[in-house]
């Protein structure tokens, strides 16, 4: 069983602020542009079928979902759903360990 944690979320704006605080010689606007550029590069890479490999963080790749038949919930009629690719993330060792340690710390 796995349940989603009830906790706060860091949004993109806060991520930009945190990076900007540590790179005080750069204008906030430059950090904002850089973060948006990095996310765009990652999206472009995946949508072109290219993996992303970030050591210590994890890797992103595409998984293929074969065609299947589904149902239109309104009419009950059968519809053919074509095969498609979906993004998949595999966390790296350091990220896995840090996430799990946060739970061990809470347990005391």
């Amino acid at each position: 069983m796995a349940e989603e944690m009830q906790t706060n979320a860091m949004m993109k704006s806060e991520l930009i602020e945190r990076i900007a605080r540590k790179q005080s010689h750069l204008a906030y606007k430059d950090v904002e542009l850089a973060v948006k550029s990095m996310l765009e590069q990652m999206s472009n890479s995946l949508s072109g079928g290219e993996r992303i490999e970030i050591r210590g963080f994890g890797s992103f790749s595409l998984h293929y979902r074969p065609p299947r038949s589904g149902r239109n919930p309104k009419t009950g009629g059968s519809v053919a759903l074509p095969g498609k690719h979906v993004p998949h993330f595999k966390p790296g060792k350091e990220l896995r360990e840090r996430v799990n340690e946060s739970m061990l710390k809470e347990a005391g």
Partner: protein, 99 residues
């Protein structure tokens, strides 16, 4: 081929006119801040890209595949990635080789 931190830094250098050291530091810091937030038990939501979501998994029975011995898999916290609508749509359109 795969996109790496070095590729991302190179693009920041070319597109935004940051110097190479700044570009490299920004890429490092980007992943480090996401990792730090997750390691601090916070989800991370990056609109347009996706959400990194933390889940607590309860202990479950497991087995040593070599010896067949039964050993419980301890309770743990894991991070999962839920791609955003925009990324999903862009990736769905990818018609490359099917695995």
């Amino acid at each position: 081929m795969a996109l790496t931190k070095a590729d991302m830094a190179e693009s920041l250098y070319e597109e935004l006119g940051l110097n190479k050291r700044e570009a490299k530091e920004l890429v490092e810091l980007f992943f480090e801040e996401v990792r730090a937030a997750l390691g601090d038990a916070n989800h991370v939501k990056l609109s347009g890209f996706g959400n990194f979501v933390l889940r607590n998994k309860t202990e479950r029975p497991g087995r040593n595949p070599k010896t067949g011995e039964e050993i419980p898999i301890s309770a743990r916290r894991v991070v999962t990635f839920r791609p955003g609508q925009k990324l999903k749509q862009r990736v769905e359109a990818y018609a490359g080789s099917q695995q």
